[in-house]
Assembly symmetry: D2
Homo-oligomer: 308 residues x 4
């Protein structure tokens, strides 16, 4: 299978659709991004890397970071985290608060905003926000084996100043005692994690352990157990695209996590870790071209987890 | 891999938990079932069959039938069905009506009751209920390659007389013009499909095409295209266990569909079709021991779609 | 105070707005009504009657009948009815089913459709629908002191054939055991009660007991106790206009009950019973001109219960 | 009518029930209040005052203050305020956020928490919180003709530190641009207004203008127009007791506004302004004995707005 030819062809096919979708504008800093950018990076479990397009351009990974945060929280608190956050698809928008009221402050899963905020509370674990943010950054650099990864302070600041909905979610959960730290501290971690700036190449590298039974196949280091890797993949598949998760599973058939920056991380278990990026979003807030590219990739590679 | 030894051991391990869970009692006829029964049947894509326990006892497959109905409807109406039913997890109970009001009579997916009722409406397609029911029965017999499969009229009658919630769902969708036939006719098909009586052995055989790229590997006949098989599997994984779908994916990692009769059909793409049955249900209405058995099976076989 | 002059002037002022609003079209039979009709009848507690416009034209009183049905049910079952139906405004549309699911089949109040259906179940009280319908008709004729009042069978039939939403509500409550008779029987009563055909003059006469401490001031017969009359008025004020009840109280300040036929019955306690009719409805389903007329009447007479 | 005898008798009758209900404990400072306290004050439109029990003990008026805040906001911004807050009963708890999401950040009415927060935003009107709080205090002192009224800083502080739910509501509305000032500033006003400390005597005096067509009958000064007084009364009746408003109207039949401190202000238009206080709350958060006392008072005086 010639992966380079496949992604080259995908990039070519989608070239005329560049600019499609709507760039996230509720975060002022993100609204400035050129919508015509598009990149793919595929890192296989045997350590090869294939890229096309703007795969070396850093972008704001936003909610894709929630995969790494969940991994961190599971490492710190183990399966006990499921007392404070569910594992079910939400059936609602990423920032909905309705479910929280009906279910007494317990978010549906770690990938909707409310759930990710609880995960940040777990990662804080009594430390100062700066320390926790430092830990997150070190962890992602370690996963990607790349010390150049940074957090975009301008994006973090932009979200801090305009993220009223996240303040609402956090305060709401605090009223149910499902946050244990100051709302400002928890959101400090949350907004900085979302502001991680990575390239497709770095992102596909950072997710590789999920395609390889929890261990980095290049360094050989274990990140999580094989069981935990499977479980994180399961959560990505059922909950990774908000209220478009069913659609993504239907069309692509891979565990994936999207971000409003237009990035998507997808995992082909036993095969590869894939990162795509294109800023224009579809109606449910996932990268329009990114989703299309992954559907094409899954079809041509036969990597769908649901059968060749 | 000695599949027989694996399922024997699972049955032995779970023996002391027989009777666990709560038998569905909202359908009077189902409430009479002995809760200590337990069976597994595994049919592999190379045609071998492994069974343990009560795998030859017929039970009411209930909502497991929705997989076959969806397959029929897709065959008749193609991808156009998605205008009338969604593909997203519901985030609510199997019989919830709240979502229908918020989303104007379009059910979330074909596996919640409302969605399955719409699918029945599609399968009716202008025919009389008797004809449609006959077609459903013929289709399932064909899939299972077994002419002895029947519909339990007592169960169908029991549901017809007490299924007020389903009447509510159907009338509600009718008020949005999302049913095209008489409510009584549509529910006639619905209640009879749910009353299909099958053994684990028959059920695992009937689902085999989903494990084998859409074609029956024994007869060689194609049922659906490989792409459609993948897509049905995807829907089973994201929506097959109502509001316990995320949990099932997390613990088992296989596409599956449960029924309140205590049956579950699970698909290991490229490997096997598995049917388990035990009448006691957990809190979200899925077989308690059946779920446990499948988790053990997935662990020991490494069949999880999310990685070995 | 010259009531005749007041209502003449109101009719004149509103003349140019005749036809405003939208005639209910979800009941085919109602959609045929000429939207330019407009009538007022005021019956004072000292027995005088003032009318203007089409006050002698019979129209379908629809949900206004729920006031008489509630009175009947309270007479039969007393305050015990509040175990099966609430007394709170719904905060939702007249035909919403969402609240029913959240509150386990107990409707919010007797004036939303679901609540009125429960009231019909109470009025049935083991009798046949025909007998119950006969009783309702006799009761309304008695209240209006007019044997010519009829039920419009064509309207009742039209609703029976298209009232899927009401079938949904009834079946839904039946699933919670909050209906004790066959759904078809209960809805038989419901649709016939709604199809009562009355003129403004008859309607204002029928409501007079509510303005006069529960007794008909003309015949002297007691219908309900003074306390019960006050309580029915209270329910009309807080719940009588669906999700426009607060607005009606704000602008008119009188207990009132509207119907999708365009009629409104309003009560000025100690003063008069008023019926207005104009078929065009506003956004929340209440007569547009009827509401306007009552606001003008309340202002000019100083009859608002909230102060002169 | 001997009002003193009536309230004396009510106090005597309810004496043995003192301590009933549950003192609000979600605001730590309020949880300390002795639950056996009980007071009534009736100020008639001809200037007489009748009191019984603890009518001279200051208590935290909490949400009763929302009546005065609404009056202030209407004075500043007129009927334009209804673009940002509704006039309908909510059908949900006082602090529910569900409706806000469904209705895009517009609260149902000015008496649920979210609505009152929007009203605070209007009262702020570009000023500093301190100035707005000063204005509120001056206004209430003016209405009560009593310069000794204060704000309990300990209560305000207690709420500021624990009012996460209100922070959630405010941030949520801010995300819909329905707050124009800093959340902290708006809530500063909100928490201080709630912490107004008044006696029954002061409170009944402060509400007198609502019983007297908008003008203080003692000083003769006009506070609002007669129409506006009627409208505020209407809002109190339909929305003044959260999700117990229908029940209060049914049993008492007077416009009223309750607070979690156990106070209720009720208006008998043309007759009197009544304040009752007893800290124990019923299930929907209104004073248990206060409600009982007002029902008895309304019955014995015949002051119900729904008929003698």
């Amino acid at each position: 299978m010639d992966l380079q030819a496949i992604i080259d062809d995908i990039a070519l096919t989608l070239a005329e659709r560049r600019g499609e979708g709507k760039v996230a504008d509720y975060i002022p800093e993100l609204a400035k991004v050129d919508p015509h950018q598009f990149g793919i990076a595929v890192t296989t479990v045997d350590g090869q890397v294939f890229t096309v397009g703007d795969a070396a351009t850093p972008f704001s990974i936003q909610s894709v970071s929630k995969v790494f945060m969940l991994t961190l929280a599971l490492g710190k608190a183990g399966e006990g985290i499921w007392k404070r956050v569910g594992r079910e698809p939400s059936g609602t928008a990423f920032n909905s608060i309705v479910q929280l009221e009906h279910e007494h402050g317990i978010p549906r899963n770690p990938f909707v905003n409310a759930g990710a905020i609880v995960v940040c509370d777990m990662v804080l674990a009594g430390h100062k926000p700066k320390e926790a943010i430092g830990e997150v950054l070190r962890f992602v650099r370690y996963l990607a084996d790349d010390e150049t990864i940074t957090i975009d302070r301008a994006v973090a600041k932009s979200e801090t100043e305009t993220g009223f909905r996240n303040y609402a979610l956090a305060n709401f959960m605090r009223s149910f005692d499902n946050l244990h730290h100051d709302v400002d501290h928890v959101l400090g971690v949350y907004f900085h994690q979302c502001a991680l700036s990575m390239t497709c190449r770095q992102l596909s590298r950072a997710g590789l352990f999920l395609a390889a039974q929890g261990a980095d196949p290049i360094s050989g280091y274990s990140v999580v157990s094989p069981k935990r890797a499977r479980r994180i993949n399961a959560l990505m598949l059922t909950c990774g695209h908000y209220d478009g998760s069913g659609d993504f599973a239907y069309h692509v058939g891979l565990p994936g996590k999207s971000g409003v920056g237009g990035g998507i991380l997808a995992i082909a278990p036993g095969k590869a870790s894939i990162a795509v990026w294109s800023p224009g979003l579809n109606k449910v807030g996932n990268s329009a071209l990114g989703s299309a590219a992954l559907e094409m990739l899954a079809t041509r590679t036969g990597w769908s987890v649901f059968g060749a």
